[in-house]
């Protein structure tokens, strides 16, 4: 009986090791694929960001302004810029203090 138990234990351990090893390999494969995907996505993100940076650059925005907005977008006087604060459910509008004069 004792002999049988030892053999059973050894076989179980072998089986368990095989299962663990198999699943580890599967997980490793998945990690590898995910890493590759992340790398590809990262590359795509960088290229899209490059395109976005170019299209949203000041040069392009000024071009779009003259094309589509003409006189609608005007230069704001700094004294007209205010700070909106939302405190204790109350809206407070304060002047922007860039200077102390």
């Amino acid at each position: 009986m004792k002999k049988f138990s030892v053999i059973f234990l050894i076989l179980s351990l072998i089986l368990f090791t095989a299962i663990v090893k198999n699943s580890t390999k599967r997980i490793e494969d998945m990690i590898f694929v995910l890493k590759i995907n992340i790398k590809d996505l990262g590359k795509d993100f960088e290229n899209i960001k490059l395109e976005y940076d170019y299209l949203s650059s000041t040069e392009k925005l000024l071009e779009f302004q003259s094309l589509y907005f003409d006189n609608e977008l005007i230069k704001k006087d700094i004294k007209e810029i205010k700070i909106i604060n939302w405190k204790l459910n109350k809206l407070k509008i304060e002047p922007l203090k860039f200077v102390n004069e």
Partner: protein, 496 residues
């Protein structure tokens, strides 16, 4: 089939808001190794199917006569997949890395260039060469792309208005030395990989060494305040209109300048003789030490290698007199920006920088705090009063202060009629945050330019009356601040 990659990797460079200034992008070139082609007719047929518009007579001749040739460069991902599906062993893809500068000329003097062997040859591409080849993450700079664009745009405009040979501008945080913008004109497009050897492309902001003239008078006064020799209200009585030193006359620029002036009035009215008197009170040793302390006399250590070395100044009795009003003494625009920052930020040393670093340097106080307290109201008066020379920079809402400098260019054995006009401004003067140094190299007057006075009178004035900084560089600075001011006030200032 493996893609062979070349060794051209360099890390990207981004601005302070993580926007790309330089990017390494990969592209795939398709080559054909003719010795490995099994069936030429079949290969051409398959290629025709994917690239129907190509000239196949030349492809055929290359297949016959060459061992290897590039069939198509920089192909799209879609065509790459199609061509690889052919499974032909003679088709050899090569991944190429290309360095692109999406902002073209905008950062040319900062970023610099690389050669065909992937080595940096100027700017940050050179000074950070090793780091760029190894770094995995992008390198972050202190510059702001939008502000850089606006400043360059205005500078280009005024370069043309005043027919200047070149110009430069530096916008820097006076408290930490972070450079938000550094422009030098003319500039170049690094994408073209042209050899830039013409001296006209010199970096006028960091490499060009000039006599800047009256902007040095601020240093004379600040040094005297630092040594506690005079106060802003100290009077100088019976100042002559002319002095002679070693046989050479020293004259006032404006003969209407009164003979009795306070130290403050001397700087506001940009008095030459008064500045000489202050310099003489101070003495050679103290003035030299002060200029050395604020980094004017020696070559600056900076993030790019293109920095100029001020010409060695031979001190003496007469040189002290001329240096007191900025004559005969040279430096670079970036050193002017640094020196003004130290004078107005409470006397703390600053090191101009282009590369963002997470660690904050410990502040080192090198001047008495009173220097800033005494100088700032005077710099403000130069912009706000009738007697001051910079009223065209009095942009409403920004508390501008600063000092003008109009200097003749030195030539061998004397001075030419060509000028260097500069204006170093500081704002807001109640709590300085930014220094903006602008210079125009050899500007000319413009008969058609219309000035709008900023004194609330709504007066317009046509034509440049004098070729001085007050009518050229100050006007350019005013227009620049009008454009970038709202961004600086909202994006880069602590809200209340």
């Amino acid at each position: 089939m493996n893609i062979s990659t070349n060794n051209l990797y360099r890390a990207d460079i981004v601005d302070r808001n993580n926007k790309y200034l330089v990017k390494t992008v990969s592209s795939i070139d398709i080559g054909i190794s003719t010795k490995k082609v099994i069936d030429k007719k079949k290969l051409i047929l398959n290629l025709k199917y994917i690239f129907p518009d190509k000239d196949y007579s030349s492809v055929k001749s290359k297949l016959e006569n060459k061992n290897f040739f590039y069939f198509e460069k920089k192909i799209s991902e879609e065509n790459y997949e199609k061509i690889m599906q052919l499974g032909d062993k003679s088709i050899q893809p090569e991944e190429k890395l290309t360095r692109v500068y999406p902002e073209k000329n905008l950062f040319s003097h900062i970023i610099g260039q690389i050669d065909n062997d992937n080595n940096g040859i100027s700017g940050l591409e050179k000074s950070l060469d090793e780091k760029l080849k190894k770094a995995q993450d992008p390198i972050k700079l202190t510059v702001d792309k939008d502000i850089q664009y606006l400043i360059r745009d205005e500078l280009l405009r005024f370069n043309e208005i005043f027919s200047a040979k070149g110009s430069a501008a530096i916008l820097m945080d006076v408290n930490n030395g972070e450079i938000l913008s550094l422009v030098s004109l003319p500039d170049f497009d690094p994408n073209k990989r042209e050899k830039i050897s013409d001296v006209k492309f010199i970096n006028r902001a960091t490499k060009g060494v000039y006599e800047f003239g009256s902007v040095f008078k601020t240093f004379t006064l600040a040094a005297a305040f630092d040594e506690k020799i005079i106060e802003p209200q100290t009077e100088f009585i019976d100042l002559p209109k002319t002095l002679t030193c070693a046989g050479f006359p020293i004259r006032e620029y404006d003969n209407k300048i009164p003979s009795n002036l306070t130290a403050e009035q001397i700087l506001v009215r940009s008095g030459n003789i008064g500045s000489v008197r202050i310099g003489q009170k101070l003495g050679e040793e103290k003035f030299r030490l002060f200029l050395s302390k604020i980094g004017i006399l020696d070559q600056i250590i900076f993030d790019i290698e293109e920095v100029g070395k001020p010409i060695k100044f031979n001190w003496g009795k007469c040189p002290l007199a001329t240096a007191s009003f900025g004559h005969g003494i040279t430096t670079t625009l970036i050193q002017l920006a640094k020196a003004y920052s130290i004078i107005v930020n409470g006397g703390y040393n600053v090191h101009p920088k282009l590369i963002m670093s997470p660690k904050k340097n410990k502040k080192q106080k090198i001047l008495n705090e009173e220097v800033s307290q005494k100088i700032l109201p005077i710099l403000r008066k130069i912009v706000t009063t009738k007697e001051g020379t910079a009223s065209l920079a009095n942009v409403n809402g920004y508390e501008m202060g600063g000092k003008t400098g109009t200097a003749q260019k030195s030539i061998r054995g004397g001075y030419s009629k060509k000028k260097v006009n500069s204006f170093v401004s500081v704002f807001p003067t109640s709590k300085p945050k930014f220094v903006l140094a602008v210079m125009l190299d050899e500007p000319q007057t413009n008969e058609d330019y219309i000035y709008h006075y900023r004194d609330g009178s709504n007066i317009k004035y046509k034509g440049t009356p004098f070729n001085t900084a007050g009518w050229t560089t100050v006007e350019a600075t005013g227009q620049i601040v009008e454009k970038i001011g709202p961004i600086l006030a909202t994006k880069y200032s602590e809200i209340n």
